[in-house]
């Protein structure tokens, strides 16, 4: 299960930038049943964190109302170059991480 962190290629230091996150995950609600009648156990991304150079930017708790392969978008102001680290954990305890580098330019 992979993920994509989408950032502008080289933003200006001090710019407000869009950060978009796309994660591959089935996001089973627990409400579905298989053809045999047995319930499909709930398995959603419980918690999702994004930090930048160790500083927490986003801490989200997703629930059963989020579609499969969730897409999140938010804005932040960036002053320096560094690494974004995305990490998440689902109900089965499966963890995932993804890193992406962002280089800012001076002007």
């Amino acid at each position: 299960m992979g993920a994509r962190i989408l950032i502008p290629p080289s933003p200006k230091a001090g710019d407000v930038i869009d950060i978009r996150i796309l994660i591959q995950h089935p996001m089973e609600t627990g409400f579905r049943h298989e053809l045999s009648g047995s319930a499909v156990p709930k398995n959603v991304i419980r918690q999702l964190k994004l930090d930048f150079n160790g500083q927490l930017l986003l801490d989200a708790e997703l629930g059963t109302g989020t579609a499969a392969n969730p897409f999140l978008q938010f804005q932040t102001q960036l002053f320096e170059s560094g690494w974004f680290t995305l990490s998440w954990v689902d109900d089965l305890g499966v963890e995932g991480t993804e890193r992406v580098q962002c280089n800012t330019r001076a002007s």
Binding site: G2, L22, P26, M27
Partner: protein, 284 residues
């Protein structure tokens, strides 16, 4: 059912006339090229679309969906493409070669490959599509277990390979060895099937652009697959989409990889000639 009664007499007179003209011009074209060079067949029938009519399935979708497909950054199909790129360079076991060991860089070596499938395997006397070809390499060369149909790994590799041909046009020629398959695929497309007693042509040639419940009927073009469908909440192959239609008309659902579905793929690829490959597509 309004569209049913319309179709009992075939197509409307204007469409019939235009297809007759196209039929003649196609035959003239074939004759002028010489009988040896080009296989003799007649593509035009109730399922055929004229070049100016052919449109991508995306043209019938909302602006939101179009944006989602056209922006690689938010196209969820790229999650599978990324996975495919990873699988391409990884060996399934330490002593086995990876895809990359033989085929090198996929964006270069696989360019145009997706357009060649399904093709006729003369030795085994059967059609193979890209999925089957991937598994052939996997079993014979990598000595690994074949990927099941519609598994994430299968879809990931096939969408990664198909991406190399994105933007290329579906071909306007057909290999002579594929002509019998093409004829059977065409017959299948035009044949009434299922409890609803509808052929593919009833919806996707005669009534595209019109509504069926909440949906707008597309032309049934194959060039966006493997595609991400919101209904499936994941990537799926063209065969899965064809099976969904078979279920829709309450016909017997053909198994994955069956000859009938492959023959239909051959017909659809030729019927959509001129459209540009746009996989990974996003559909409802």
């Amino acid at each position: 059912m309004q569209h049913k009664s319309v179709m009992t007499s075939g197509l409307d007179p204007w469409r019939r006339l235009s297809s007759l003209i196209a039929q003649c011009s196609l035959l003239v074209g074939v004759m002028s090229l010489g009988a040896d060079a080009v296989a003799q067949f007649n593509a035009v029938g109730p399922g055929w679309l004229q070049p100016h009519e052919r449109r991508s399935g995306l043209a019938f979708k909302s602006e939101d969906l179009q944006n989602q497909q056209n922006d690689d950054a938010i196209n969820p199909g790229f999650l599978w493409v990324d996975q495919g790129a990873k699988l391409w360079s990884e060996s399934p076991s330490p002593q086995a070669p990876s895809c990359q060991s033989c085929h090198l860089s996929a964006p270069i070596s696989m360019k145009g490959v997706a357009l060649k499938y399904p093709l006729w395997n003369a030795r085994e006397k059967r059609l193979i599509n890209l999925d089957k070809r991937i598994n052939e390499c996997r079993v014979k060369k990598q000595h690994a277990q074949a990927f099941p149909y519609e598994s994430d790994e299968m879809l990931a590799l096939s969408s990664w390979i198909t991406l190399a041909s994105r933007g290329m046009k579906l071909e306007n020629s057909i290999d002579p060895s594929l002509v019998p398959a093409f004829e059977r695929g065409k017959a299948f497309y035009e044949k009434r099937i299922g409890q609803n007693n509808l052929s593919c042509a009833h919806c996707h040639t005669a009534h595209f652009g019109q509504r069926l419940g909440g949906e707008i009927i597309s032309q049934g073009q194959p060039h966006a697959y493997p595609a991400y469908r919101l209904e499936w909440q994941k990537m799926g192959s063209l065969q899965r989409r064809l099976r969904a239609c078979l279920s829709g008309v309450k016909a017997a659902i053909l198994p994955f990889g069956s000859e009938e579905l492959l023959e239909l793929e051959v017909y659809l690829n030729f019927r959509g000639q001129g459209l540009r490959l746009e996989s990974p597509g996003v559909r409802r």
